[in-house]
Amino acid sequence: MSVVVQEPGIVEATPTPSKGGVLWKTIRERKSAALGAFILLVLVLGAVLAPWIAPYGLHEQVGPPFGAPSWSHPFGLDDGGIDMLTLLLWATRISIVVGLAATFVAMVIGGTVGVAAGYFGGVTDGVLMRITDFFLVIPDVPLMIVVAAIWGPSLFHIIIVIGILLWTSTARVIRAQVLSVRQRVYVKRARALGAGHLRIVGRHVLPQIAPLLIANTVLTIAVAIFDETALAFLGLGDPSRISLGKMIENAFQRAAISAGAWWAIVLPGIVIVLLILGCTLMGQALEDTLNPRLRVAHIGARTFRLRPLVGRGAEAL
């Protein structure tokens, strides 16, 4: 650890309401959270229902390349003459899947590291935090590019690559929280009663940090989607799965701009912006509700992380 004015995330005694309660309370009390939730709901619904509500087939050529928007194709056609609305629905699905899966990988690593460091403390904490510091400093986008380039383009590889580089902020937030939970009376009592580490962590520590973990997850999803978009744009995406990032890349490579087909580039980008905005608003509001003092820590030079133009650090606001 280094320059932190105030240790982040240590809250004296937050009464922990039920998880569903926190979510509802946040949405009801904060306009930004409600807006974020609404955006996400619409996009997720569209993505889930894609096979049923998509007006055309995903590989079905229904008109000329870069056909202009019309009544039958409100969002126009792409470079292969495929209906853009259909493509957008399916691509949102892929992007969300990548975001969720990569975040899951990041949460598993970050959660484990954070809990282990906070719970065991001492040497374990020192070593794990040094490793986290290292991952924090390494520029992850170039590293992602290098690994993806060497490993070959596939959806699975991209998920893993993003996941193993996104866990650091989670580890830090969780560690700070566990540090304080560990000191509480009921944990000490459980230990006195002879409970093992696994039981204490599973029964007493994890439920306490779960809400914060959820807020962190939502923020990480946004970053993961961002990173996927960037990798796809650099030609490292899975060629057989059209994600939103891949759609932008395709349109860029096939010179959609000089063809005047603005819709092929503008629309997928708008969906990405909405996805990221939704996740950011939602996660931010959740974090604020759960842990008001976290805001302070965000300004510290080290706890705060910048989004390096691509990915990482949605927690930065």
Partner: protein
Amino acid sequence: MKGADYIVKRVLFAIVTVFVAVTINFVLFRLAPGNAVSNLSRVPHATPELRLAIRREFGLDKSKFQQYVIYLKQLGHGNLGISFQNQQPVSKNLRTELGNTVPMVLLGTVFAIILGTFVGVVAAWRRGTFIEGAGVSSALAFYAMPTHWLGLMLVILFAGTFPSGGMTNDFLINPTWWQHFKDVLDHMFLPALTLGLVLFGQYALIARSSMLETLGEDYILTARAKGLAPWAIVRKHALRNALLPITTLVALSLGYIVAGAILIETVFSWPGIGRAVYDAVLARDYPMLQGAFLILTVSVVFFNLVADLLYFKLDPRITT
């Protein structure tokens, strides 16, 4: 002394980080499919003798550890290998490209710092008004935009007004120094604006929360109780302290900005280091990719160190 202790610790951490990055760099590219032998012996009638000769030529007959030591030694001499693409030393290629990237990045960053700080501070000062709402929403919107997509949007918007690719106009014959300068500046406008707008989003949001934080401090209340004019409070008491985290964050972001320029330079075909990474990925030019990754990592680690030390210097409250 505590301060010296802190500085030594940070510098040591930076050195170790660079060392680990170098090692990762070595290991990663040994995992890459194919090697010099399999690539170069893909000629008809390649004899086992030829393969052996190539192996020896590239030092691949030595043990992995020996190869690693040789790699470190060569790095120490500034030798990053030879690019597959143009058979020039990687270090020479990278030097040219870095020289193209830095001015563009600098222009965008300065723009972002000025606009971002201004909007953020005003938004915090005018809390709860329409001005704050507009400032925060626009910052959030730019923050949520994929960098390359924003670049493409600007290309669509400014098509015809500003050149959308490259760094110079090839049809300018024997330009004077001034013509050349103006030409490059013209080409630099859109990439720098893209970078500036994306960064603006972040800087404005940070500046706002930093300013809000400061405005809530007790000494601001004291200043207000003394009857100081609001503007004097902002300028003399709040702004200075609020700028503290921003200063370090700018230093911190500089390293990442160079890395982030990959997307922008790809969109605008700007012949910088980011573009070099993109080209190297397409051509599977591993030495080039390896060299670029090293440069990017070292710059990020370096600016991180600068940010740490700067923060330490500026904020006397810091303890290690």
